[in-house]
């Protein structure tokens, strides 16, 4: 047999790398803007699309899917060709994948600031974009598996396994969590409600971290770290164990996001146990990565790339130790809803993902451009400023998370809350928010040094678009026998089979199980709990549009410190009509689940116009446009009818007269407000619907509050 000549495609890799850098800088910039708004809300210039609730979604989606996403694809397209000794199967699919993904990001950049969101964290994009994501993901999958099938290297290097796991799992997660019923092109309702929706969301949320931010990046680590160190991975055997142990354990840990909620105890315990078990494969992987550099530490001193990798792998170890610890109920009771969680997340994203990606860019780009890096010194500066940025980001947030949590739980000797005004616990940690924004700015500064370095490097070289390579063809393992049955043919293609059988079983399972879930018989029905009125529903959708759930939870845990502050703890049965659930995950402001009746309508009117009028020193944004925007009444029958389809017991009559019902309720609230001095409202003002919703919150089972 003779060696075959072929060419690697470097253009797609280059494209993804450039996209990584551009979107990365944008995502960091949006993050810094949001961070500054938490101590200087005026930075939003009273522009709706610049307010915190909307920016936060843009920042998280940008960091995860645009920055890390493009970097993963760049690394996959580069490493897979070389590991499998073949060109990617189809240039056309590569191009569709690249441009499709950028188009999705652009549509996210447009829709999220407009308030077009499903409200589910890291899955905020509305249904047309969800479908586009599915299609592009399938294109990526076909391209990948096709390439695997035409490989010239029999052995699948461990990185490839990490990529395969990523593809399969993310596909399932994305589809299940985004099952939603469209109301219009820009609005849909999750088919799940309340507790169920929360569970699906955090099953997704946890595994998105596992299979989008961890496994593919581990694949990159197992390729680029040995390459950059020019020595084999410390233990290939350990890397294989790392992979299989990780994917078998990860998928069960999701419930640790819902400790102390209405989730059954056994499921919570399952989440905790598997989370603890995750320490072992994760640390195995970290140790494997670090020991790969054994005997090469002198080179780490000189090489910015290796320095980035060392910090990245160490951050992986820190985050994967902290995560399981946060799954312990007693620690979770302290850390949940506080800044501790963003701190944990940013060790993972800024440290593990970001630094691994920066290292990869510095190593890969000069090679693609057949030149050397413009300035190693500048890269070292990036490393130091970036590291400082991570420290300034995370440390203040640990302090602030712990401080605020302790303040929430402080009692006076007479049994009243020491800090009964929530705002006092916010103003206390403002200095930490300032430090955090400095940390973010440092990290962004580092990334700008990267841009300069990359720009100069690219200018000094020329892109090797088609890289020539050679390899022996793969000896055919099986000879086709005459009269062979089709299933024998299939059996020889285990990967194809694996994929199709997964797809078939998933569709089958979904078709069977989902209809039975519409109203869950096992969630205790509370007689008093009634569906939202049409106006309240409209108000709820405004709450979603503005992203209030980015700062406010609606889930009171059964702790004395919480029931004292907010009222009766939240029951599963109260959320049965909540499509989607709005429990939130972070209390930058107080919990709102028992808000109804706490204040008068006028208080809310003033507070929404300018929070500092009622709460001096508040960091909540102003929402003046709610006072002037006109509510869309026309769409209400459609919304109610969609809810009806999902099992919310609206009568046909209510659906038909939704507009009139809403208008009548709005007129009552508006008239009431207009009695006050200097208040001039119309029933059609958006603020009226929002007030209707806020006054309804948590009142079903708590009428006397």
């Amino acid at each position: 047999m003779e060696k075959e000549l072929f060419k690697y495609d470097n253009v797609t890799t280059r494209n993804f790398l450039v996209a990584t850098i551009i979107w990365g800088v944008i995502a960091f910039l949006v993050g810094v803007t949001a961070a500054i708004q938490l101590f200087y809300p005026d930075l939003n210039l009273d522009l709706p699309w610049l307010t915190f609730g909307r920016l936060r979604a843009l920042h998280t989606n940008g960091a995860i899917f645009a920055f890390v996403g493009n970097a993963i694809f760049a690394g996959v397209y580069h490493s897979m060709q070389r590991l499998l000794k073949t060109r990617m199967a189809s240039d056309l699919l590569s191009n569709i994948h690249f441009w499709g993904w950028q188009l999705i990001i652009v549509s996210a950049v447009i829709t999220l600031p407009l308030g077009i969101t499903s409200s589910k964290e890291y899955a905020e994009l509305e249904w047309p974009i969800d479908i586009a994501i599915t299609l592009v993901w399938v294109v990526f999958g076909i391209n990948m598996f096709w390439t695997i099938l035409k490989r010239r290297e029999r052995h699948l290097y461990v990185a490839i396994w990490f990529y395969i796991a990523t593809f399969v799992t993310v596909a399932v997660l994305h589809i299940v969590n985004n099952l939603e019923l469209p109301v219009s092109m820009t609005k849909s309702y999750s088919i799940f409600a309340g507790v169920q929706d929360a569970l699906v969301q955090w099953w997704y949320g946890h595994n998105a971290v596992a299979f989008f931010l961890t496994t593919p990046v581990l694949g990159l680590m197992y390729y680029f770290l040995p390459k950059a160190a020019e020595r084999p991975v410390y233990s290939y055997r350990l890397s294989i164990i790392h992979f299989w142990a990780l994917i078998f354990i990860y998928i069960w840990a999701g419930p640790h996001h819902l400790l102390y909620t209405a989730l059954p105890d056994w499921a919570q315990s399952l989440g905790t146990v598997f989370s603890i078990m995750l320490i072992f494969p994760s640390w195995g992987g970290m140790i494997n990565g670090l020991l790969t550099l054994r005997g090469a530490w002198d080179r780490v001193r000189d090489s910015a790339v290796l320095k980035f990798f060392v910090v990245a792998v160490s951050a992986y170890g820190m985050a994967t130790l902290e995560g399981p610890l946060l799954s312990l109920k007693n620690l979770n009771a302290i850390a949940h809803y506080t800044d501790w969680i963003p701190a944990h997340v940013h060790i993972g994203t800024l440290g593990w993902n970001g630094f691994l990606i920066f290292g990869m860019i510095y190593w890969l780009l000069p090679r693609l451009y057949q030149t050397s890096l413009y300035s190693e010194k500048l890269a070292n500066w990036h490393f130091f400023i970036g590291t400082l940025g991570i420290i300034f980001w995370a440390l203040p947030m640990y302090v602030s998370g712990f401080t605020q949590s302790m303040m929430w739980k402080q009692f006076n000797p007479d049994g009243t809350l020491l800090y009964h005004n929530f705002l006092d616990t916010v103003t206390q940690i403002i200095p930490m928010y300032i430090l955090r924004a400095i940390g973010g700015t440092l990290y962004l500064t580092g990334a700008i040094l990267l841009v300069v370095n990359v720009w100069r490097t690219v200018k000094s070289g020329t892109l090797l678009r088609e890289e020539e390579a050679s390899a022996m063809p793969l000896a055919p393992k099986y000879q086709k026998e005459k009269g062979e049955y089709w299933h024998r043919w299939i059996e020889r293609r285990p990967v194809t089979l694996l994929l199709w059988s997964t797809v078939v079983i998933l569709i089958g399972g979904a078709v069977e199980i989902i209809p039975t879930l519409k109203i869950d018989s096992n969630v205790p029905k509370l007689e008093a709990v009634k569906p939202y009125t049409p106006l309240e529903l409209a108000g709820r959708d405004l709450y979603i549009r503005e992203g209030c759930n980015a700062c406010h939870s609606q889930m009171i845990r059964p702790f004395r410190s919480e029931t004292k502050r907010y009222g009766e703890y939240s029951k599963a049965g109260e959320f049965v009509y909540d499509h989607p659930f709005l429990w939130g995950s972070k209390r930058t402001g107080p919990d709102l689940h028992r808000l109804g009746g706490k204040y008068g309508d006028l208080w809310h009117y003033n507070h929404m116009m300018d929070p500092t009028r009622t709460s001096p020193g508040s960091i909540m944004p102003r929402y003046p446009w709610l006072l002037t925007n006109e509510l869309d009444f026309e769409i209400l029958p459609k919304k109610l009818s969609a809810m009806q389809t999902l099992g919310v017991p609206y009568t046909d009559d209510e659906v038909e007269t939704a507009k009139e019902l809403a208008l009548a309720q709005a007129t009552r609230i508006s008239d009431g407000l207009n009695q006050e001095e200097n208040v001039e409202t119309l029933p059609s003002d958006e603020i009226i619907a929002l007030i209707a919703y806020l006054q309804r919150l948590g009142t079903d089972i708590n009428p006397n509050k």
Binding site: V176, V195, Q196, L199, R237, L506
Partner: protein, 54 residues
């Protein structure tokens, strides 16, 4: 909590798919050599023509 069973179901499917992948790769001999692949991935064979650049 019917939803738990749905998620358990999906999770089990994924786990089963991976178990299968594991058994396949084991029987295919993917794990027979746990030294070679780590060394091999370090070598990028250029085509004979372009073997000048390192």
């Amino acid at each position: 909590m019917g939803i738990i069973y749905l998620l358990l179901f999906f999770s089990l499917i994924i786990a089963a798919a991976f178990l299968w992948a594991f058994l396949w790769s084991n029987s295919d001999g993917q794990f027979d050599d746990v030294e070679g692949p780590a060394m091999r991935m370090l070598r990028d064979e250029k085509s004979p023509k372009s073997s000048t650049n390192s």
